[in-house]
């Protein structure tokens, strides 16, 4: 375990960047959901890191991290359900073919 907060934050930043790139670049809906998870986890990592290094945030950070996990789980469930529904409808997981909102 490194003794520097920066290392954790850099890792979180890299993870968030990978996640956002994945979200913007991948066309597959499932991959996009996975990218979202990656971003959430990057943020969570940053929160936990702050909690570990800043004494005043100790407890709060853990609570927030748990909260984020719960929300992420719920979000993943709903997201997957939506993707499944759209997939059944449109027979494709590719989001750039989902253009019903355009009209």
């Amino acid at each position: 375990m490194s003794q520097s907060l920066d290392a954790y934050l850099v890792l979180a930043g890299i993870l968030f960047a990978i996640g956002s790139f994945g979200f913007l670049a991948r066309r597959n809906a499932i991959s996009m959901l996975m990218s979202i998870e990656l971003m959430i986890n990057a943020v969570n990592l940053a929160i936990v890191a702050f909690g570990a290094f800043v004494p005043e945030l100790n407890v709060d950070a853990s609570v927030i991290a748990l909260m984020v996990m719960a929300v992420a789980a719920a979000e993943a469930t709903v997201g997957l359900a939506i993707v499944m529904a759209i997939y059944r409808n449109r027979r494709t997981p590719l989001v750039d073919e989902y253009d019903a909102m355009r009209q």
């Binding site: 956002s20 979200f23 913007l24 066309r27 996009m32 989001v95 750039d96 989902y98 253009d99 019903a100 909102m101 355009r102 009209q103």
Partner: protein, 673 residues
């Protein structure tokens, strides 16, 4: 016949006034709503089913109007014999407009003035209905005609019975509507459709004034009940009272065809003749006179407005009489004569002789109704020809029409003892005695003119040699059927006798006694030092003068136009009109109705049209341009910005990401400084 039932309505009753009267009002008062209900149901029934009934569509409206007449006579008897109390009685049917402080009751009120109008409206209305059965016998649309007539009867009765300004105004517009529908009854005829529109629009001009007057009454008194408003108006300052009086008079000017809004009435003769008799001679055009008479407490407090009323009245009288000199359409002569006689009535109102005005209204209603119905009978006889130059010598062919019209013509000319003599003499005498010398003098001249043009009408129609047109159909000229001649005879009787009945004894006539409770206060206020009647004094002289005026007119007309077998002298007429430049100008002026129609054309069609065109241009380019510009800008902006919305999730996400980066970058840039 009309002796008071309760001679002195017990002095102790006067102390308690209105309220107990309403409580003890006779059962007859409950009949009053029927006066409205019967014609209205007749209108609705005939409008809905008349077409299917066809030939006999006149039955229901006719019977309902006869019933209305009978009820009206009961009501009139009750009102004039004091059964409704000294100041009449009313019933409130329902609250018409309950809007906070603005409360308008739907109520009916009958007093002596209403009773006088009821006599004229229902009697002539009934006879005109009967007459129309014959007159309209061959018209395929006659169910429509009778439906409209019933609508008119309903409106006119509402007008005289209504007890709030708003009810009267609504009825005022309803009679205008009926008039419009009936003038334009033969709407495929372009001139009829135009005349209907003209009547409606010219009336609107006056109605704007009336509506403003009603608003002013509401604003300054807070009530629209006619009787209540009189008491409250009396407490206002004189400027407001004058404004109210003037605005109400505006409405009267329009409806009663007074100068400068007199132009619609002669054109209204495009309607069927029974309509001209009923609406445009005997009843509706009297509504303005009735309105001013009804509002006498207001006018009595505005003496300056009274002078205006008198001036407009007497000016209209002489103007219209001069135009009647040269018209050749029989109905137009009568129409201008109506305008002229209405001018008389307004002159009487203006000098403060309210009773005389109502007297003349009643008398005029009967004899002018008679003359119009007679002219309809003449027109029928000579195969729908209205030009008097194409008549002549008809008195032997259509004797009933001739003799009844003869009575009517002498009555309007003012020959004693016929109706017109009494009423006209009362107007002239009172204007002289009330120190309106100029009204009296012009009135006297108009009396000469009236006698003259009426005899001219009689002579050109009935006497002398038949014209070429009349000779060509001579053997086919027939007296009209009984449904047309019976009303003529029934109208000739009151035309001859109503003056004797209402106008005697001289000085304290029956109609004065009837209307005293309505007008006494105002007349007292205007002329506190009224002289008693002196037959051997000033009044006798005035009577002789007005009879002399009428006789002079008749004699000149007989000299020029002939009588019975004695033919008129065309050369004499021509030598008079062609005497010199001045007479030629006068002849052309009256023939062209003093160019009022042309003036209106110039003012409102030509100049008004230019202004309207300019307004239209402004509206089209500037107003519409702005509005359409804003609209087009929005549409174009929307169309452009639509491209941004691709519907792809990732484009939006990219937007969010870029936004985030920009925000974060900006934050860092600011924080770093």
């Amino acid at each position: 016949m009309f002796e008071p039932l309760i001679p002195s309505a017990a002095p102790w009753l006067a102390a308690v006034e209105a309220e107990p009267i309403a409580a003890t009002a006779s059962q007859v008062l409950n009949l009053v709503p029927l006066l409205l209900l019967l014609p209205l149901s007749g209108f609705i029934f005939t409008a809905l089913f008349g077409r299917r009934i066809g030939r006999f569509a006149f039955l229901v409206p006719l019977l309902l109007i006869v019933a209305t007449w009978a009820i009206a006579m009961v009501v009139v008897y009750e009102a004039l014999s004091g059964g409704f109390g000294e100041h009449g009685a009313g019933i409130t049917l329902w609250t018409w407009i309950p809007a906070g402080a603005f409360q308008v009751q739907m109520g009916l009120y009958v007093d002596q003035l209403t009773a006088c109008l009821l006599i004229v409206v229902t009697t002539i209305g009934m006879l005109v209905h009967l007459y129309s059965v014959g007159y309209m016998a061959h018209d395929p649309g006659r169910w429509r005609f009778f439906a409209y007539l019933n609508l008119f009867m309903f409106s006119m009765l509402l007008l005289v019975l209504g007890d709030s300004w708003l009810t009267v105004f609504a009825a005022w517009e309803l009679v205008g509507l009926s008039s419009y529908l009936l003038i334009g009854f033969w709407y495929p005829k372009r001139s009829a459709a135009l005349a209907a529109k003209k009547a409606f629009i010219v009336n609107r001009v006056g109605d704007v004034g009336f509506a403003l007057g009603i608003m002013l009454i509401w604003v300054s008194t807070g009530t629209l009940n006619i009787r209540e408003s009189f008491e409250l108006i009396a407490k206002l300052d004189s400027t407001t009272i004058a404004a109210i009086a003037l605005l109400v008079f505006c409405g009267a000017v329009g409806k009663s065809a007074q100068f400068p809004l007199h132009v619609w009435l002669p054109d209204a003769m495009e309607g069927p003749t029974p309509v001209s008799a009923l609406i445009h001679a005997a009843t509706m055009v009297n509504a303005g006179v009735y309105l001013v008479a009804r509002a006498n407490p207001i006018f009595a407090l505005a003496p300056n407005v009274m002078v205006i009323v008198a001036a407009i009245g007497i000016f209209t009288a002489i103007l219209a009489a001069s135009i009647a000199f040269t018209q050749t359409d029989i109905k137009r002569v009568l129409a201008y004569s109506t305008v002229s006689q209405l001018g008389y009535m307004f002159a009487a109102l203006g000098v403060g002789a309210f009773t005389a005005a109502i007297f003349h209204l009643m008398a005029h209603g009967f004899f002018k109704g008679l003359l119009f119905l007679g002219s309809g009978s003449v027109i029928h006889a000579v195969h729908e020809e209205q030009d008097m130059n194409n008549m002549g010598g008809l008195w032997r062919k259509i004797p009933i029409t001739h003799w009844t019209m003869f009575v009517g013509a002498l009555a309007i000319a003012g020959i004693p003892p016929l109706a017109g003599f009494f009423s006209k003499d009362e107007i002239l005498a009172e204007s002289f005695k009330f120190a309106f010398g100029w009204v009296w003098l012009i009135g006297l001249v108009v009396a000469v003119m009236t006698a003259f043009y009426m005899w001219r009408l009689m002579a050109k129609t009935f006497y002398g040699e038949p014209s070429a047109h009349a000779r060509s159909i001579w053997d086919r000229i027939r007296e009209s059927t009984w449904t047309m001649t019976v009303p003529l005879v029934l109208l000739a009787i009151p035309s001859a006798l109503i003056g004797l009945f209402l106008g005697l004894p001289l000085g304290d006539s029956r109609i004065t006694q009837w209307l005293e409770p309505v007008f006494a206060e105002s007349e007292e206020l205007l002329h506190p030092d009224k002289q008693p009647f002196q037959l051997a004094g000033i009044d006798g002289v005035l009577i002789i003068l007005s009879v002399a005026a009428a006789t002079l007119g008749l004699v000149v007309a007989i000299w020029l136009f002939g009588a019975f077998r004695r033919a008129g002298s065309r050369s004499r007429v021509e030598s008079l009109t062609d005497a010199n430049g001045a007479t030629r100008f006068l002849y052309r002026a009256t023939l062209n109705k003093w160019w009022f129609d042309d003036l209106n054309h110039l003012l409102f069609i030509v100049i008004g049209g230019r202004v309207a065109d300019a307004m239209w241009w402004f509206d089209r380019t500037v107003v519409d341009g702005t509005v359409n510009g804003v609209g087009r800008l929005t549409v174009d902006a929307g169309r452009g910005l639509r491209r941004v919305q691709t519907g792809r999730v990732q484009n939006y996400a990219l937007g969010i990401a870029i936004g985030l980066i920009v925000m974060a970058g900006a934050y860092l840039a600011i924080a770093a400084r």
